[in-house]
């Protein structure tokens, strides 16, 4: 599904990613852990095509297509979804309208018929209900006046509706209480299947209790310094990153 | 017989040749003044910059050399800081009344310097000053030096017209606090022009306390240029004058320069006070902050005009302006024109304005606790003003201003 080789990237003159090799097979959930400033969020942004970041080397293939050459919306149409760490506010743009526009843009790219307002609302209402979100979430402006938890749940709602092939969750668990955390995990688990993969960026073991990963990677100083099974996350929770990073250096 | 524009021009013609400094500059200023006249002084001619303030009363006044007054008595009646002071009496520097500061000072009368920032061609009152200025002070703080506090005290009397010309220059990384105090007795005109240069990383705090006689005219025009990383932090308190106009032009010329143009005007009777500012963001990443409050009683009129101008290349500008007016009387009037002129796209600029009376619920709350009406009012007005005065960081200076406000309050009761 996702095949990253020797990926390097920088902001301005400052290198952030210093050679990432990572393969996420279809149907798997991988966790990326690591201390602050290790490049975790950068990886998410680079894969989704944020312009502030310059790719300086390496490759990233997504279902055999070179995603690094695509515009952000083409990557989205190809099935890549980034759940933002700090979701963006769009004043005056209502959530339902935003989502329908996005969904139809993606459907158009796939040559599928667009959904009309009624069809869309039916779909969206079903998802909000499933995610235990109030109906008015759809009526409100995108992320405007949302609490931190609501913003994160809104990202999960978008993911559920847009049905990506690869979801990158950038610290979607931060600032959530245990109930919200479960909702997020359930949202991802519901999508799990042979055609869905996820890259879960997190600081904590907590989320991984509910969203059990196939593999765990530790990112430090722009490189993956260790890879293991779900037990690696538990080990990190106990002993921290320090030893690992020192070991790698 | 009123003096009027003609009288001022005649005064200039009579004195030409005896006036210090660049005579060509004075002649050009006189030509500009002849063309423009006093704003509002000529029927039917309107200048947008003077939309809400007409100098017709100035045009109609008869200014003449006044009998000597007791400057010492006036001075002793003032509350001042225990700090160096440069005292002007009727526009003339009086060494005998001054306590000279450590920083280098020069008299305009001895070393006339008109500077480079002013616009006599665009500003009639600056033209008038340029035409007739005879004295003033130039303060120079060398790079890296903290010049402490310097008070510029102006005492005026009688029916004279005075046109002092000041210059303040701070070298790189220098700092200085200037406290201007203007007071007097009579129906005079004080028309000051000041030019300020703040070099890289320098910091000027500029406090203005205008407590002129309520029969007097006060016009003050300041031009400040702030280089990279420099700060021009100004606060104006207008309490006095029959008619006053305080105009400040600040240009932020280097990146990360900062300007604060805060003010409060408290007026009663038939006073008219106009606070007009322009902040020009001419370099990227500069910030400007402005809080202006008007408290208007009697038949007074308060004017605020504030423009934030952002040049095309001044990206990352952060400009904020708030002006609030409190009307205390059914006959008071406020006119406010906050203005944004933006040519750069990556900026954060906003302004807000509110006009109204004291909050009825707050009044009721205070009175329900047993506080009489008048006292409740005064508590809320003070609270309103306190927010503005909070911008003055130096506690001693803030105390000086608070005292002036208290005295003003006492005078109203009397």
């Amino acid at each position: 599904m996702l095949d990253i080789r020797g990926l390097t990237a920088s902001i301005g003159d400052k290198p952030i990613l210093k050679g990432i090799d990572l393969t996420v097979p279809a149907g798997e959930v991988h966790a990326i852990m690591g201390p602050n400033g290790s490049g975790k969020s950068t990886l998410g942004y680079v894969l989704s095509g944020r312009e502030d970041y310059t790719v300086t080397g390496g490759s990233a293939m997504f279902n055999d297509a070179d995603i690094l050459a695509m515009a952000p919306e083409q990557r989205a149409a190809a099935g890549l979804f980034l759940a933002f760490q700090a979701p963006i506010e769009l004043p005056g743009v209502n959530n339902a309208n935003f989502l329908r526009t996005a969904l139809n843009a993606i459907r158009r790219a796939h040559g599928e018929p667009e959904l009309d307002a009624v069809q869309f609302l039916k779909l969206a209402r079903a998802e909000t209900k499933r995610l235990a979100m109030p109906d008015d979430m759809l009526k409100r402006n995108v992320n405007v006046g949302f609490s931190g938890g609501e913003k994160k749940r809104n990202e999960v709602l978008q993911m559920a509706i847009l049905r990506p092939k690869l979801a990158i969750l950038d610290e979607t668990d931060s600032g959530l209480d245990i109930d919200a955390l479960k909702i997020v995990a359930d949202g991802v688990n519901a999508l799990r299947g042979p055609d869905f993969s996820a890259l879960v960026i997190t600081h904590h073991q907590r989320l991984l209790d509910h969203l059990v990963p196939n593999r765990v990677h530790v990112l430090a100083h722009g490189r993956i310094v260790r890879t293991g099974g779900p037990e690696l996350a538990k080990e990190l929770e106990k002993s921290g990153y320090a030893g690992l990073i020192a070991e790698a250096a | 017989m009123s003096t009027g524009a003609t009288g001022f021009l005649q005064r200039y013609e009579d004195a030409v040749g005896r006036l210090p400094g660049d005579s060509a500059l004075r002649a050009a200023a006189a030509a500009a003044f002849r063309e423009a006249g006093l704003p509002g002084g000529t029927q039917g001619r309107r200048i947008e910059a003077w939309k809400y303030t007409s100098l017709r009363p100035v045009a109609e006044a008869n200014f003449q050399v006044s009998p000597r007054h007791e400057a010492e008595t006036l001075l002793s009646g003032l509350t001042l800081l225990d700090a160096p002071r440069v005292v002007f009496v009727d526009g003339v520097l009086r060494g005998d009344l001054s306590v000279l500061p450590a920083v280098s000072i020069a008299r305009f009368a001895d070393q006339p310097d008109f500077g480079t920032l002013t616009w006599p061609d665009r500003e009639p009152m600056v033209a008038l000053n340029t035409m007739l200025a005879t004295d003033g002070v130039a303060l120079n703080v060398p790079a890296g030096v903290d010049g402490g506090i310097v008070q510029l005290v102006s005492l005026s009397g009688g029916q004279g017209d005075f046109h002092p010309r000041h210059g303040i220059r701070l070298g790189k990384g220098a700092s200085l606090t200037v406290v201007e105090v203007a007071a007097g007795q009579g129906a005079y005109l004080l028309n000051t022009v000041a030019e300020i240069h703040v070099a890289e990383g320098a910091h000027l705090t500029h406090i203005r306390l205008q407590d002129e006689a309520t029969t007097a005219f006060h016009v003050s025009t300041t031009y400040a240029d702030v280089q990279a990383g420099g700060t021009y932090d100004s606060f104006t308190l207008n309490l006095g004058g029959r008619l006053s106009r305080t105009e400040v032009h600040t240009q932020l010329s280097g990146p990360n320069a900062t300007a604060h143009l805060n003010a409060a005007q408290i007026l009663a009777g038939s006073q008219h006070a106009d606070f007009t500012t322009v902040v020009s963001h001419a370099a990227p990443s500069c910030s400007s902050r402005q809080t202006v409050k008007n408290v208007l009683g009697g038949r007074s009129r308060g004017v605020f005009q504030g423009k934030i101008a952002v040049a095309r290349h001044a990206q990352k500008t952060d400009g904020y302006q708030m002006n609030q007016a409190l009307l205390l009387s059914p006959d008071a009037e406020v006119d406010s024109k906050p203005e944004l002129e933006i040519f750069a796209d990556d900026v954060k600029c906003s302004h807000g304005a509110t006009v109204g009376e004291l909050d009825a619920e707050q009044m009721f709350y205070l009175r329900s606790r047993g506080i009489p009406d008048a006292e409740a009012k005064s508590i809320l007005v003070r609270a309103f003003l306190a927010e503005a005065l909070d911008a003055v960081a130096n506690e001693t200076i803030r105390g000086l201003l608070e005292t002036a406000v208290e005295q003003w309050w006492e005078r109203q009761k009397a």
């Binding site: 963006i88 996005a102 993606i106 307002a117 | 006959d331 933006i342 302004h351 304005a353 006009v355």
Partner: protein, 494 residues
């Protein structure tokens, strides 16, 4: 919601050339000679078969205009206008009234089609078979250059007691009403352009809603400048008597031409006790090309008088066209508890200049006003909000709230805000807020990450920015307005 999707579709379907309404219709025209003098005014008056008093009124206005100067305070810049180089009267040549669509000048029909007026209404506009068409909700008056060519639904409206007709007809048929109200809101010598209009106005709409009547349908006027070297000077007068209610829409387009054309309209509204007038404009005059060549000079005076207690006048405008827009739809709030509203979206792109806003003059006790202005500047354009809020001594407990937001797209445009706030009543409250911002990069990226193209994302964000205004528009116009916003901003990103 559907409308936004439509906006996006429109953006995708429209080419870079932009202006869709730039066609010229080849219709035989009747012109007055170029230039302006008393004889031209007499000629206009004669063509309109006006009574003597109307001619006198025009001549007096002309005399006033001669003594006046073009206003210079607005932030707009243009070469001198050659007032003597214009035709002040141009009309399609008169033929006998058509019996069926076949007899109507096909060019005229084609024009209506291009303007997007529905087929049934096109027939009605062409003068065929009035009042037999069902399922249409809007009565339309079409003003083509100097004359009103047709007004629909006259009979239905007449039944309700509503008068909706060309103003030239009202001068003849309802002189008492016209005499009573014309020039009472915008005096003939109010300003340079109003005086010019008063002297030479050729047509426009007249609306009278009698006491207690709720107008049974939306009233609408399409203004179209077609002929070359003509000025358009329409005059609209709307009176809502006690308790009456009317919603009026106007749309404007013009051909694409290299030279600038002058449009100087005057609109007067009068609302008596408990009356409501809602006036919506979608202004899409030709804005000139990408290099600033051509386009309409739009110098318009619009003012409403809330004369009655609890009367209400609400202006909504979406201004996307014109090379220069100089326009301040205002409310004089005389009545106790009267209400004035101004909702505005002004978009400028390429080399357009807009200086637009409102005046809210509070005279009556308890009068309230709301101003919401959204300015969007792109390309090399300049967009100025200029607004006055004045609380007079009698305006006890009056209220104003103003929200004024500017959005800059690209770093070559200008966004300016010039509010004037004047209060002479201590119990009156004024609140004003203004902000300037750009479309944030992270907003764009967020939308694109969800699959939207950059242009779609801009359209979506801009529509969101304008939402508070667009929701005030009647449904039919809201859709059109959203499309226009997107089209107007084409080529402004990327």
């Amino acid at each position: 919601m559907a409308a936004v999707t439509e906006t996006l579709d429109t953006v995708q379907s429209v080419t870079q050339s932009g202006y869709k309404w730039g066609f010229e219709t080849a219709i035989e025209m009747d012109f007055a000679p170029k230039g302006l003098n008393e004889d031209i005014i007499r000629l206009i008056s004669a063509r309109k078969e006006e009574p003597e008093w109307m001619l006198d009124w025009r001549l007096k206005s002309y005399a006033a205009w001669l003594t006046m100067e073009e206003p210079r305070w607005a932030r707009v810049d243009h070469p001198p206008i050659g007032y003597q180089d214009l035709h002040y009267y141009a009309a399609p040549k008169k033929k006998a009234g058509p019996k069926s669509l076949d007899e109507v000048d096909p060019e005229l029909l084609k024009m209506y089609e291009k303007l997007g007026i529905p087929l049934k209404e096109r027939a009605i506009l062409a003068g065929v078979d009035p009042d037999t068409v069902e399922n249409t909700q809007i009565a339309v008056d079409a003003v083509f250059d100097s004359v009103s060519v047709a007004t629909t639904f006259q009979a239905t409206l007449r039944k309700a007691g509503v008068i909706f007709c060309p103003i030239s007809e009202a001068v003849r048929e309802h002189p008492e009403l016209v005499k009573q109200y014309l020039g009472t809101v915008v005096p003939t010598a109010d300003n340079f352009f109003a005086a010019l209009n008063s002297a030479v106005f050729t047509d426009g709409s007249f609306v009278y809603i009698p006491k207690g009547v709720r107008c049974p349908m939306e009233l609408s006027t399409y203004f179209r400048i077609n002929a070359r070297n003509t000025g358009q000077f329409e005059r609209t007068l709307i009176i809502a008597a006690e308790g009456a209610h009317v919603s009026y829409l106007e749309g404007c387009t013009a051909p694409q031409r290299d030279e600038n054309q002058l449009h100087a309209a005057v609109v007067e509204l009068v609302a008596l006790d408990d009356a409501t007038i809602k006036y919506s404009t979608v202004q899409n005059w030709y804005p000139g090309d990408a290099n600033g060549k051509g386009g309409i000079y739009n110098f318009v005076t619009k003012r409403g008088a809330c004369r009655g207690a609890r009367s209400k006048i609400s202006w909504t405008q979406v201004e996307t066209g014109s090379a220069i827009t100089w326009k301040y739809p205002s409310c004089v709030l005389l009545g106790e508890d009267s209400v004035g509203e101004f909702y505005s979206v002004a978009v400028t792109n390429n080399h357009q200049q807009a200086d637009t806003g409102t005046k809210m003059i509070h005279v009556g006790k308890g009068s309230r006003s709301t101003i919401v202005s959204k300015g969007i500047s792109a390309g090399h354009s300049n967009n100025t909000y200029r607004g006055l809020v004045r609380m007079l001594p009698g305006a006890a407990n009056a209220r104003n709230h103003t929200q004024c937001d500017s959005l800059l797209i690209g770093d070559q445009s200008g966004a300016h805000t010039v509010p004037y706030i004047e209060s002479r009543n201590l119990t009156a409250k004024v609140e004003h807020e203004a902000t300037t911002s750009k479309i944030a990069d992270d907003q764009l990226f967020y939308c694109r990450q969800r699959g939207l193209s950059e242009e779609d994302a801009v359209g979506l964000i801009v529509n969101g920015f304008c939402k508070d205004v667009l929701k005030e528009l009647p449904m039919e116009f809201a859709v059109e307005a959203q499309k226009l916003l997107a089209v107007s901003l084409e080529g402004s990103v990327g």
